[in-house]
């Protein structure tokens, strides 16, 4: 095994459950199975795209990976080191190397601090820099993410949604981390700024050997940035493989429906692709269906799917699928 084959991050049967109380239903306290039995290996220098239906557990998994959430079951390894149960103090040296960009920029930026301060904060805590050095690095980071120098003294509310998102990215890359988990980092940006950020992330990856886990709903962006993608459905990974292959020939019926629903600019109406419409109710992570969790909405479900849960297994070289009847690819 060469050095680059050593996974930078690995989850083994990782699960996260929330327990919630209910007021409007008579069912009492319930358990949300937000992330269920996820085993994922991320190698140094690659970008894993994480896609799936709204509410399927992407953000929860992301927060588990950077240990912002405690992990209910399973294991999490960072650079070979088991960090599943490490205390906050033990995590400190890991934190610098493992960063996250949040889906909701306004929720993660303190509204009372100027954005220049917000970007300087991780530098003050972790980097040995003089205050002039910090100022210089902040200016450099602003430039990298396409913010203007006169933005430094502004407060988060004085920014547009996309500008705030870039503050979050600047903060996350400030310390030259090894791995960055990006939760919808470009969804608030127009396509030209999005292209700049996507190019920037690629440049940083080349230069610093960064590894990314990239969550986004815009599948053409995910395809562009990812070397591999993992498709989630109701808390579990249902398909995983090289991104271009999964996009051109998805094997899991859910991946097929997802990819068929992407709206694209079509100049000729006849060019519209056929969309697979999923029927049936969206299942709840409170009461996941028996058998294959996708079976109530699956267009190819058969009896076996209603009782037996398919495991995520190698379908062909490099491709894993959790389905009893995957499409041949």
């Amino acid at each position: 095994m060469t050095g680059t084959d050593q996974p930078i991050l690995e989850t083994r049967a990782l699960s996260k459950r929330f327990s919630i109380g209910t007021r409007f239903s008579s069912e009492g306290r319930r358990v949300v199975h937000a992330v269920d039995n996820v085993s994922l290996t991320v190698r140094r220098g690659e970008t894993v795209g994480l896609v799936g239906e709204s509410g399927c557990g992407k953000s929860t998994l992301a927060r588990c990976l950077v240990r912002l959430y405690d992990i209910t079951d399973g294991q999490l390894l960072f650079d070979g080191d088991d960090i599943t149960a490490k205390s906050l103090a033990e995590l400190r040296p890991v934190r610098r190397r493992l960063q996250m960009v949040f889906q909701d920029p306004s929720a993660s930026l303190n509204p009372r601090r100027r954005v220049g301060d917000l970007v300087a904060e991780p530098l003050r805590v972790h980097a040995k820099l003089t205050s002039a050095g910090i100022r210089e690095r902040v200016a450099e980071l602003f430039d990298l993410v396409g913010l203007l120098p006169d933005h430094v003294g502004r407060y988060p509310h004085e920014f547009s949604g996309g500008q705030r998102q870039r503050v979050g990215i600047a903060r996350a890359i400030a310390l030259n981390p090894d791995l960055v988990v990006l939760d919808e980092p470009v969804s608030a940006l127009d396509v030209s700024v999005q292209a700049q950020i996507v190019n920037l992330l690629a440049d940083l990856q080349d230069k610093l050997k960064l590894t990314y886990i990239f969550i986004a709903h815009d599948l053409s962006v995910v395809r562009q940035v990812s070397t591999r993608i993992a498709v989630m459905y109701l808390g579990s990974i249902v398909e995983e493989g090289p991104s271009e292959e999964v996009f051109s020939a998805p094997a899991h019926p859910y991946s097929q429906a997802l990819i068929s629903a992407v709206p694209v600019v079509e100049t000729t109406p006849s060019g519209r692709r056929k969309r697979i419409i999923l029927s049936g109710d969206v299942p709840s992570p409170l009461k996941p269906p028996a058998g294959c969790r996708f079976h109530p909405r699956c267009p190819v479900a058969k009896d076996r799917c209603r009782t037996e849960r398919p495991a995520l297994v190698e379908h062909k070289s490099g491709r894993k699928v959790a389905c009893h009847f995957p499409a041949s690819v």
């Binding site: 919630i20 209910t22 007021r23 409007f24 239903s25 069912e27 319930r30 896609v51 239906e53 709204s54 509410g55 399927c56 953000s59 929860t60 909701d104 306004s106 396409g146 203007l148 006169d150 003294g153 004085e158 920014f159 547009s160 949604g161 500008q163 919808e184 969804s187 608030a188 127009d190 396509v191 030209s192 700024v193 999005q194 292209a195 190019n199 690629a202 709903h217 815009d218 599948l219 053409s220 962006v221 395809r223 562009q224 271009e244 996009f247 051109s248 429906a257 629903a261 992407v262 709206p263 694209v264 600019v265 100049t267 969309r275 109710d281 969206v282 709840s284 992570p285 409170l286 009461k287």
Partner: protein, 319 residues
């Protein structure tokens, strides 16, 4: 005409000087029409529509121009009157769902409250209506979801809760600011259907801000492109996508990553960044980044010229 905005200008006084966020924006919206608004991040899409809604609360804001809704001038209308219009006739879906939700109440409580503020309904009828609305926006198990606090929902679920809230009064005018950014494409398709249904059943007009060109091309009748506080191009959906004329629009459409075929190593991004709104250039604001720029572009600002398909560009005007 349902909505008619004329020469709208919005500036903010800041420590560094006056930020000219909106620099003369005019547009009309008819009943039953869906207008897509796209443009550079920070170009003023949100601020211009917040101004229309009377929702700019920053005391340092200066708003000029005219905004007529069904013939009635909204600029200068007392806050109480505006509040009555919003919720009864005009509804807004905010870019950031947490602006519309408070963390301390369950979402069922909050949406029911909103419904009861504008409709005479008993609490239990309001709660039934909330359940219906949440089911429409694709919530699994809506009754149960009503008892959740916002932080117990996923980002996309929060966004859908806010959409449900906005749709609760069947508004005549719906302003939706990036309502589907946190939604996967299948759920998004459902939301776009709801917007079309609102138009079909209530002849509502919709302003839909998004940077997803695919969504605009599926939903909008007309499209408006903004850059540095101005409209740089507008036209029907097909005029804009089949025959974009402004250099910014062309560059914008060129930056969309492909979904099929070869992956470019780098995406064709527009070089440079938009101007600081504290120091707008004397000429065309896109000039410093524009591949088509020539002498006239530095001398003054191009006006939006043309008929239904119009662009603010000296090159286009000359052609």
């Amino acid at each position: 005409m349902m909505l008619s905005v004329r020469d709208l200008k919005v500036s903010f006084r800041t420590d560094d000087g006056l930020v000219r966020a909106i620099d003369g924006v005019s547009f009309d919206l008819e009943e039953g029409e869906i207008l897509g608004v796209v443009g550079e991040s920070g170009s003023g899409k949100t601020v211009s529509l917040l101004a229309v809604m009377g929702l700019i609360t920053d005391p340092n804001a200066v708003i000029e121009g005219s905004i007529r809704y069904k013939g009635r001038e909204l600029v200068g209308l007392p806050a109480r009157e505006l509040r009555r219009l919003r919720g009864n006739e005009i509804a807004m879906i905010f870019q950031d769902p947490m602006t519309a939700l408070t963390p301390v109440y369950t979402i069922g409580w909050q949406i029911a409250e909103q419904i009861q503020a504008h409709q005479r309904l008993s609490r239990s009828a309001a709660l039934d209506r909330v359940e219906e609305l949440l089911a429409e926006v694709n919530f699994p198990n809506p009754r149960e979801a009503m008892s959740r606090y916002p932080h117990q929902l996923s980002g996309g679920m929060r966004q859908r809760a806010v959409i449900a809230m906005a749709l609760s009064c069947n508004p005549a005018l719906l302003v939706a600011d990036e309502p589907t950014t946190a939604l996967d494409v299948t759920v998004q398709a459902g939301i776009l259907d709801l917007v079309r249904k609102l138009r079909a059943t209530h002849n509502s007009a919709v302003v839909f801000i998004t940077h997803d060109m695919g969504v605009v091309s599926e939903l909008a009748d007309r499209v408006m492109v903004m850059y540095a506080g101005r409209i740089v191009e507008r036209g029907s959906r097909s005029e804009l996508f089949n025959d974009p004329s402004h250099p910014y629009t062309r560059a914008l459409l060129g930056s969309i990553p492909p979904l099929t075929g070869d992956k470019p190593r780098r995406l064709p991004a527009i070089p440079g960044s938009p101007p600081s709104l504290l120091r707008l250039p004397k000429g065309c604001a896109f000039g410093p980044r524009c591949p088509a720029r020539y002498e006239p572009c530095d001398a003054g600002k191009p006006d939006l010229a043309g008929g239904s398909h119009a662009a603010a560009c000296f090159r286009v005007a000359q052609a």
